[in-house]
């Protein structure tokens, strides 16, 4: 399953209509099946807008997003039936991405119910327990509500919920930035493990070059709504061509640059 983004642009008009912000201008790139693309940039570079567009939460002004050559539909506010979607999104803040009034078992059951192709009740339950155990949440915790979990555990639950939708492509939007430092490595390890288990393609969006460098096959650097550099992780980190990329790398703490 291949993701292609072709000539995507997005412009926002301020509320008072006197200013326009070009959030994205003519963004094009591809992610090959089974690869991890890291998208890195600072606040305001357009990476969040881009991930919303890839997920289908927002429509681009021009350009298109293709999944296996087929246009990836934008999510309408008026859908009368549940629909399967092949790109799933894991959000930055695990505290706000689970419905506080739903035990986590129910949250995953809801997704399995839609994507599970009419599984029998028993098989459905087995699948839910399997998904939870893959992310390290034991079955006796399944009846708890989100507020009874730590940030790291909630992010695991969010990942399990995304996996319940059998995604081909998982879009990870700053998946560890809101977590405690000692928990981050654990979640990154989990994500890398799951990618192999489920044959996933990842798009890993982050401001943190250290982590992007660790996980990505390819890295794409964004600045002011444009792609300034794109290449294999090794190429971008070891011999950056663009001035902004160089500044970004120089700004990393010396330790993480491997010094």
């Amino acid at each position: 399953m291949k993701l292609e983004v072709k000539g995507v642009s997005k412009r926002y008009v301020s509320k008072s209509k006197d200013r326009t912000i070009q959030a994205l201008s003519d963004i094009s790139f591809e992610v090959e099946e089974g690869k991890i693309l890291g998208i890195v940039g600072e606040s305001g570079c357009g990476k969040s807008t881009l991930s919303r567009i890839i997920a289908g939460l927002e429509a681009p002004d021009s350009g298109e997003v293709l999944v296996s050559q087929a246009p990836h539909p934008v999510i309408s506010k008026y859908v009368m039936k549940d629909k399967h979607r092949s790109v799933q999104l894991v959000f930055q803040d695990p505290y706000s991405s689970l419905n506080p009034r739903q035990p986590i078992f129910k949250a995953i059951e809801e997704v399995v119910g839609i994507y599970g192709h009419n599984l029998a009740a028993d098989a459905q339950e087995t699948r839910i327990i399997d998904l939870l155990s893959r992310v390290g949440i034991s079955r006796d915790m399944a009846n708890r509500y989100p507020h009874q979990f730590s940030g790291g555990q909630r992010q695991r639950i969010c990942i399990a919920r995304s996996l319940a939708a059998n995604p081909e492509i998982l879009l990870l939007d700053e998946p560890v930035s809101a977590l405690d430092v000692s928990v981050r490595a654990d979640i990154i390890n989990l994500l890398l493990e799951l990618k192999n288990q489920f044959n996933l393609t990842y798009i890993f969006v982050s401001h943190d070059l250290e982590i992007v460098k660790h996980v990505s096959d390819d890295i794409m650097v964004m600045n002011a709504g444009k792609i300034v550099e794109k290449g294999s992780w090794h190429q971008v980190m070891e011999s950056p061509q663009d001035e902004y990329t160089k500044t970004l790398i120089a700004a990393m703490p010396a330790l993480s640059r491997g010094e």
Binding site: E42, G152, D180, S182, V183, H207, A251, P253, A254, L255
Partner: protein, 314 residues
Amino acid sequence: MSLLRVKNLTIETSLDGKTLVDDVSFSIEEGESVGIVGESGSGKSLSALSILSLLPNGVNKRAGTIEYKGQEIASDKLLDIRGNRISMVYQDPMTSLNPMMKIGRQIEEVLEAHNLGKDPARVLEALAGVRIADPEKCANSYPHEFSGGMRQRVMIAIALLLQPDLLIADEPTTALDVTIQRQILNLVNEQKKQNSASILWISHDLGVVAEMVDKVIVMYAGRIVEVGSIKEIFENPHHPYTVGLIGSLVKRKHQQKMISIPGTPPKPWTVIGQCGFAERCSQVLPKCSQEKPELISSGAQSFACFNPIEGALL
């Protein structure tokens, strides 16, 4: 004589007496830069805030003394010391300046509060000192006209205005972009050399702390678990928590499993009388969940662990 000495500091919630910081002691020598590293809830910020009696509502100091140049800081002396001998820079530059007041006026106010009168020249000098290109224009602007990085510069200018002996920086770059963080780190390092001030740098980011300080205090679940020089801590950490943190930073191979710490940090008050890290520790002994390990020195380094890791990490 140490510049600042914190002894047996214990902080609890006012309402139900839950321990948040448990028996923390450390000292800062004149001209020394010390970092406190820990994650949210480790007690690092509370420990720093209690130095100037700035603990938030609902939290109070149960025990402990704080000595400045060998004398306990009395509450009536606090106003002389605060902002003058010891100053502070906070995490969020967007809310630490008064949005209704011009920047120059806010700096002037600090001078007035310490009875130094109006001194426009000194205001401009302070702004120029933190590498603000057009100090005059800046002094005549309101905070909202500036980015987070510029505002943090202004906060640093204010903190250094009265040439303090100690600058406490509480996660001053966490809210900033990495390239701006770099500029601020360079600026503080530069100012440190010029002013020969001591620095207490609080952060969750070991990488940042490593560049800013000589000595690191590692906190976990309300307690100090390890203290040592940057070099020692990075090359030869002993506490399994420190080993896990540093290991995930320095020993990583592309897309391979990183050294990680399973589980989540506990609330400090749930691990009284035992090692706070016992539940997540790979080196755990039966003793660890029955007895609290004290901080013991081994050479220049000290750590609180019954079963420390020996042998160099790098």
